[in-house]
């Protein structure tokens, strides 16, 4: 039951959501953070950094820091100033009138779980899968979306990474610590990844590129024994005998809760005022990867979380 109307409810707990929590809690707005529920994809408390190892480009950590540790630090910093963090997943929101209504658990319940004067949406993005048959059942049996969690189990085995961006090459480099060989399967003949990541991957003797190819079938019964690969040039089919496949073909924003309520860009990311975090609904702000299809960095997410917090704070002041 909704006991009172919260000043700020923050949905999501990556760098954006928790930075918004730090700022709004220091402003004595007593924010409630609905951080999500545990899962093994990037859709989970702490966000995508929970699935990484060394974060080398977050300012303030000259020797780097582990992704999960960084996120635990964000969280304790927010809690230190009184932010309340609940490990639950939002099932429905109603932004059609104020206060905004938020449901946790049964979305058909008559009464919302929480009421809020302002909402900061920081639900992030999650990995896109290939959408091939038996995908779900093979996750954890050779198919993975978390190289840092699972790389360890592929010691001295041949594995493959699908994708051509920075995340794909970062995973390939990381996985080469364990695997005897890492194929990078990419549908084009050039990479989207940054030069530094390309140089690292190209000079890594364990990494071999499979150009102009896409994975079309998973082989193996109870666990992965290989993949069928189709050439994007002539349609010819070949098999890669890999025991592990890591998918890094990009991300999709977690906006399902807001369909039909918040304006989105054509690619599904939330639309905000240029240079701001304000959405089409006054009092609802969007920060982090859910509204960023361009930078997608922890530091830019944190920056926009700060913006959302300040905008929410000023918006609340203006209402009085």
């Amino acid at each position: 039951m909704s006991e009172h109307v919260r000043n700020v409810v923050i949905v999501g707990s990556g760098p954006a959501g928790l930075t918004a929590a730090i700022y709004t809690s220091r402003a004595s707005l007593e924010p409630l953070v609905l951080e999500g529920e545990p899962s093994s994809t990037s859709d989970q408390p702490g966000g995508q950094l929970m699935l990484t190892t060394d974060v080398e480009n977050f300012p303030g950590f000259p020797d780097g820091i582990m992704g999960p540790e960084l996120m635990m630090n964000f969280r304790s910093q927010a809690q230190r100033f009184g932010a309340e963090v609940q490990t639950v997943k939002v099932s429905k929101v109603d932004l059609s009138e104020r206060p905004f209504k938020i449901w946790v658990g049964d979305p058909d319940a008559a009464e919302p779980t929480h009421l809020a004067h302002t909402m900061i949406v920081s639900t992030g993005a999650q990995s896109i899968m290939l959408g091939l048959p038996r995908e779900t059942e093979l996750i954890g049996h050779g198919l993975s979306t978390c190289a840092t969690c699972d790389g360890f189990f592929f010691r001295d085995q041949e594995i493959a990474v699908v994708g051509g961006g920075d995340s794909a090459l970062e995973e390939a480099n990381f996985l080469s610590r364990f695997a005897s060989k890492v194929y990078v399967v990419h549908r084009r003949d050039e990479l989207r990844a940054s030069q530094i990541m390309q140089d690292r991957a190209m000079s890594n003797p364990k990494i071999e590129f499979v150009w102009n190819a896409r994975v079309v079938e998973y082989l193996g019964d109870s666990k992965l024994s290989g993949v069928k690969v189709e050439s994007t040039v002539d349609g010819s089919i070949s098999e890669l005998p890999v025991t592990g496949l890591f998918i890094a073909i990009g991300h999709t924003p977690n906006t399902g809760l807001f369909t039909g309520q918040l304006d989105m860009k054509d690619n599904g990311y939330l639309l905000t005022e240029p240079g701001r975090t304000a959405t089409n609904i006054p009092g609802v702000f969007a920060s982090g990867d859910v509204q960023d299809d361009y930078y997608r960095q922890a530091i830019t997410a944190a920056g926009s979380g700060c913006q959302a917090a300040l905008e929410a704070e000023r918006w609340l002041e203006d209402q009085d």
């Binding site: 545990p38 899962s39 408390p45 999960p68 996120m71 954890g140 049996h141 978390c146 969690c149």
Partner: protein
Amino acid sequence: MASENVTILSDENFSDTISEKGEPVLVDFWAEWCGPCKMIAPILDEIADEQAGSVRIAKLNVDDAPDTARQYEVMSIPTMILFKDGEPVKKIVGAKPKAAILGELAEYL
């Protein structure tokens, strides 16, 4: 801080622990470097306390016991395997909310 009701496993006490008569043992295969493992640790602590007597919770660090992990075909962590009289009867792969974990265990408790 882990619950007192959680048994810490090693290669030495693994077989003895899972073979003990009585309540089934849920073994959490985890590692220090795994983010999702950290997210479910407090959930398993709660289950250990609340379900004491009907299930025993144990943790095995795969860095310390890679052979045991391989023996049970753990290829992703967190993986939780429920053992009854030494035999694996249920495997749960990936971090999940508490209700989902309890739901998967229900028929064995």
